[in-house]
Symmetry: D2
Subunit: 462 residues, 4 copies
């Protein structure tokens, strides 16, 4: 059974990876790989390793039984090892989970989940980046009003706005590349991190196990040093923040009162049970909900770094429900944003109309900057502020008010005034910034190739 | 299928109530009750109401279909109403969900869940309070060392410590009683809170619906005023804080190095996969994990109060996964704490031994207070501080060091010194505080009777 | 020196109360009152009490010295007691802080701060409630569009919207009344909560001290049971959530694109350094900033309940900067909201214009409900949904589209259609809900009288 | 005046950098550098730039006036620009803040603060890393008990424990190196991010301004893309988590009941106002308090990424008090941890004694692993578990119980048993892990050299 809200709020691939079965599947992968690594070293026999590998399949595990046994044992590793042992042929039985501890298998299984999630993230981030680059390129000169503190401010272009989104997404792809080599590290330390039960062979077996699992081999076990986990959560927090920013902008532009964009139509989507005319911004709703939830889940993970000695009491367990939720929700926000951007309906005519809606007030700064060299910045500010108030009060266009002002007349002729009131003449460096953003997008390929080499193995989907 | 960690981290009753099915079941209860309330007013026919009531059963709902349809619609109410309509006989069909909006049925179903959760909470809080009162009474004179900043400080009794836990639990029972009449309120406002589609009959139908559902009738719809929801989350946050404090104390006392208590034994529980001698504090682990998670989930709910106009974009949806998680985890912490307290193994001998472990240092204040009237508070502090350092440095009992001090000799004879070093002679008002705590416990009955009258109806268990 | 952002983000009264000096002032009040309570019992002499009372004045304390000494001692109580002792005449010197511990004076001083904050809160909540009641009454029939998920939905009135705000504020006043008797409680427990150093007199002295300070006498010391503190933080969290909801609505209505309200003008306020025409919603900006910060500060306080034994390591200290910040910011949000509501400029004409902006689409539900009895709810929904799409696509008024539909014609004549498209004819129970909200407001007097009796003493302002 | 708790909870350098004056000082640095960059381009005259540079000094700013004016204006940039203009000679006056917006100067001043904070962080991280490396090296073979879930588990060494701390600190130094080039970036976008008011010269002036300020020149303005700020907060959150983990371990080891370490003595430090013998872990108290506060402050910053359009309403302002608090508290935790580690008193004898306190139970795994090849892992587990229970119940040493067991006798002789019970014989790969940690420490130099080149300029201290 799927959770009622999972199809709505998560990426289906990540939902599978981060599901209970996804975890248990990877715990079994760990146990089988451990046995093979130990067989390579001669710690256990090849038959034992084969027996364990053969038995280590999710088909043998009754998830409801496992859940019940977990309640008694305190974690799922203890009963899973028992179940696996019971299904393993005689030669292998004594060597199931040999020398490992619950946290080794749970943490490494988590890292295997993270690797597969990162792969999905990388793919969707590339898709989103491509879609944003296309949008930025398509609308680099589409004029619209820029809004500060929800007030009309100055002209900008829609491409300039999406260039900001694009650059932030690209920076976050860079962060994933930096975090991955730290995060995708084997955890194998035995009961307290010394690998005592493997005697002199600990580091060799750990190395071979890392090779088996295609994971990074860390300098030492990290079971109660959770900075790698915290870093993963922070990555998700930073990413969903950017996604939330995109959704916030789009939802504000999609207001009935603004009408500049619309989430693309899809049959049966975004309707209201009582208001048949409505086109609700369903994706924005979900992305914003997720962006509001993730920061506090990240806080739980950050705080969970304060772990006691060689196994944290409470702190480790506080990650168990929180981290999967972070990854699932992040994936959902990313997928919704990606499809939303790919299908966004853009109403350039309305953008242009809104730019004109305030009778020239958005060009006030342009006029002020033009007057400032003549009368000083503060004086120009006062003058244009006063003219703006007159324009609002009398329902006039600001150009008209200024055109009848003695000071303005003295310094600007009517043609200059007309040019000052053309929004496309007042876009500053927008085109250069857009170029820089598109350049950054074109350079993504290298980062992505690195990922492909790092993240090769996906348990659920092979 | 149960979630892998649900049996470990939640109360089974609350897990059922707050499950996806628990929600959908109550959404159907709402739709049926709405139809009956409308039939009573004559808005729809009695046949229609009967047809809807008959169809409104969870047996007709395929939860996986509903999950898939929810992903498209954006919330589960829209597809559920469609499914219900499809299962309703002709007479009822046009009147399913008549005049209501998605948030009406989702919010009221949530309130029905909360009522049933509160009932479970009240029962378990009573059990916990009873167990703590018994423990307080049993151990009112069991001496142990009090610790401040994790250092031995002065003597206290175990009953004095548990009296503090008891009083906090009782205050929280009081808070539940105050919150319940605000929280357990019908939400019925139609599309935007005006009940426009019910014409002149809105308030009458709402009143009858509240009667049907045995819920409080609020002054007005509250769909985007989420203070009632925030209050519920805060209640859970305050409660789990107290439970976390209890678990923290017990886990510190259960350290191998301290050995004053142990979580009661249970077959298959608290073992380690690699260390056969271990008795892990499994309940403390879970309670502390929950107490570390809940505050941040509460923060999400508090922040979700900032809702846009007549339906919050993102903010409302951010409650959907968060609030059930809060209630489930709170219930788990409460159940774990209750059974832990009921079965706690208390080692009075070790408590007494630990009190003596520092060679009389914990009686330093007693001596200081006895000297202070003679030499002044600061001078007494310096004197005893110096003697304490000597005792530590030379491995002597503080009494010996003081007995050989000229200043001490001048003001205290040896018999007075001996009495000053008897921990049971230095418990101040502990017994009176314990009496006050047990009094407060005895007065709980009234609060509980109120609950029983308020919370009569439980959908899952009828 | 004032903090740079304090005048912008806090109420000046609360800034004074919660300042460092405000804390120290009340710590001295505690020490003096303790001495007098002990003199009444005969524990110390009347001269000693007088000497301590005379010395206990903030004028004697160099705050910078105290800050430096605090860094060494680990808390401000230890050096303050030393400073106070040094300024006390001989008779009193040995008895300064007699039998008390650092946490007694710091916690009780905090409670004295809370009492004075609550007084400011109660006054401002009354002001805000009065202003909202007036606004609700004035605009009970002012039509405007209700928006769900930021889309135009149905008509409502501005008074209906503000009635929702009013009811939430009134519920929160109720919560303050319930919390106050728990929160405003003396903390006096000595080193570990037993009042051991006061011998048999502990409870009597504590009672007299509570009388001196006009605080509630609790059943027992509560130093490591922080539910009272958590409750205070939660109150602030719930309140700022409601204030944030108000600010959110107003900021959305104040968008240039909407123009329905404006924060009242004030010289020098809300300007932009570069855009002279702008009228920024400065108060909304601050209230929303605070509403975004408080939930996470509340989470810190909730988590801090998990305290070790008889003095929490880290947990208690994590409250020291967090709780004052919560109270200061909450006060700022309350004051900004109050003055904003009192001065709000309301543009009823624009409200009415916006209602008409979608060519009748907001009346779609009204038509659907009118058709539903004839053709069934789902069929009516489909029909009106299709007509809405046609209206949008062809730029027509929905009434025109429907007027030319065969089905509509069959069931509704043109006059009925006209009535259906009059927004004021489709307000359901709005007027009754407004009446209920105004009734609730009128009943506030009683709650407020209770406060006045509870909160009589304000250290800073007498 | 210093805040009462600042000397206790912050690094004095960072307190200065992140103070109100530290911000304003850097805002003035921005304005002066902007003028010079514009003079270089010829936008304004050299005299104007000189006049502005001369006037831009904190000595001219009355901070209380600025605070009051900030309350009216809504941010400190608007009144500061006015004050600066008033102090600038005629030639410069019209060109103060030319083309810039409030957020440009506030964000860039923040980045300048961050650069100087990073420098302090880098220095203290190096000190801490050095001290941990020394401790790890000194105690690489000092045996102590490893504890999991607060229960004695197996032997380890103190150097192995500190190697874990060391590696985590080193990873975080790596993170700082990765974040710095993204974070230390100029913000210069004008009113809405297009630099419209600078016409065709925007990007050139921005480049020259970045050179003036020795900051990274970003691809485009990032005012409402707050991922750089979020990343900074996350860095602090990850770092304080590691510091909290260290403090947690030390505070547990410093318990009176454990006695393995003590914070180094310092006159007047760690005393208690009532218990003269106490040596409170003052630094742990502060570090743990900070580690409990930071995650929730980080959550505020993460959530603040959801910014509206070209200037966030509420979201940007929610950073203003939060980010300085994060940096100040992080610096305090880092400084406390560093001095604590440098001065830690380590009691190796007590470590050894605690290892022996459980009558050989901590060697249970060693025996189990030795028996497992003979009897199978599960059987060995059962056998040793039973023997452990007997040892506990009868107060015997585990070796004795096992020595009298038939199964044990069959597979292990007495000499083998003795070796199995020698804790130093059961340390697995601890020494190799320690070597790897020390290697990582030795490689820090390169990362640090990079920092020195990146972070050259410190406004407060030049």
């Amino acid at each position: 059974m799927t959770g009622l809200l999972d199809p709505l709020m998560t990426d289906p691939h990540v939902a599978t990876i981060m599901s209970d079965e996804g975890l248990v599947r990877r715990m079994l992968v760990f146990e089988a790989a451990l046995a093979r690594a130990q067989a390579r070293r001669g710690t256990i026999s090849a038959e034992a390793a084969t027996a364990i590998t053969n038995a280590a399949t999710i088909a043998h595990i009754d998830m409801d039984d496992l859940a019940r046994a977990t309640a008694l044992a305190g974690n799922p590793a203890i009963p899973l090892v028992k179940m696996l042992t019971a299904r393993t042929e005689a030669a292998g039985q004594p060597y199931v989970h040999w020398g490992a501890t619950s946290q080794d298998v749970m943490d490494t299984a988590l890292v295997l989940q993270l690797r597969d999630c990162f792969k999905v993230f990388a793919q969707n981030l590339q898709r989103l980046s491509d879609a944003l680059a296309q949008m930025t390129s398509d609308h680099r000169t589409t004029p619209m009003v820029a809004r500060t503190l929800l007030q009309h401010a100055l002209p900008t272009t829609f491409g300039m706005k999406s260039a900001g989104w694009l650059l932030a997404i690209n920076r976050t792809i860079g962060r994933l590349g930096e975090a991955a080599p730290r995060v995708l590290a084997l955890q194998c330390g035995g009961a307290v991190g010394t690998l005592a039960s493997l005697g002199a062979d600990g580091t060799v077996i750990a190395r071979d196990l890392a090779i088996e699992l295609e994971l990074v081999l860390p300098a030492a076990p990290w079971h109660t040093q959770r900075d790698r986990i915290a870093e993963t959560a922070c990555f998700c927090g930073i990413l969903t923040g950017t996604l939330g920013k995109i959704a916030r902008d789009i939802s504000l532009m999609a207001q009935t009162d603004v009408g500049e964009v619309n989430e693309g139509a899809q049959a049966g989507r975004g309707g209201s049970s009582t208001m048949p005319h409505k086109r609700n911004p369903v994706s924005c709703n979900i992305v914003l909900a997720i962006a509001a939830s993730i920061p506090n889940l990240v806080a739980t993970i950050l705080a969970a770094q304060v772990q006691d000695h060689e196994r944290g009491l409470g702190s480790w367990a506080s990650e168990w429900r929180t981290l999967p939720e972070i990854l699932k929700l992040t994936s959902g926000a990313l997928l919704h944003t990606t499809t939303m951007i790919e299908n966004l309906e853009i109403n350039s005519a309305r953008m242009r109309a809104n730019l004109d809606a305030t009778n020239g007030l958005v060009m006030a700064e342009a006029v002020m900057m033009a007057l400032a060299p003549h009368v000083g910045r503060l004086e120009a500010h006062h003058l244009v502020e006063a003219a703006s108030k007159t324009a609002i009060a009398d329902g006039l266009h600001l150009r008209e008010v200024l055109a009848s002002s003695a000071v303005t007349k003295k310094h600007l002729d009517l043609q200059e005034l007309d040019t000052l009131f053309d929004p496309t003449s007042y876009l500053g460096s927008a085109q250069q910034f857009i170029d820089a953003a598109l350049d950054a997008h074109r350079n993504l390929g290298k980062a992505m190739a690195f990922f492909d080499s790092l993240i090769t193995h996906a348990v659920d989907r092979k």
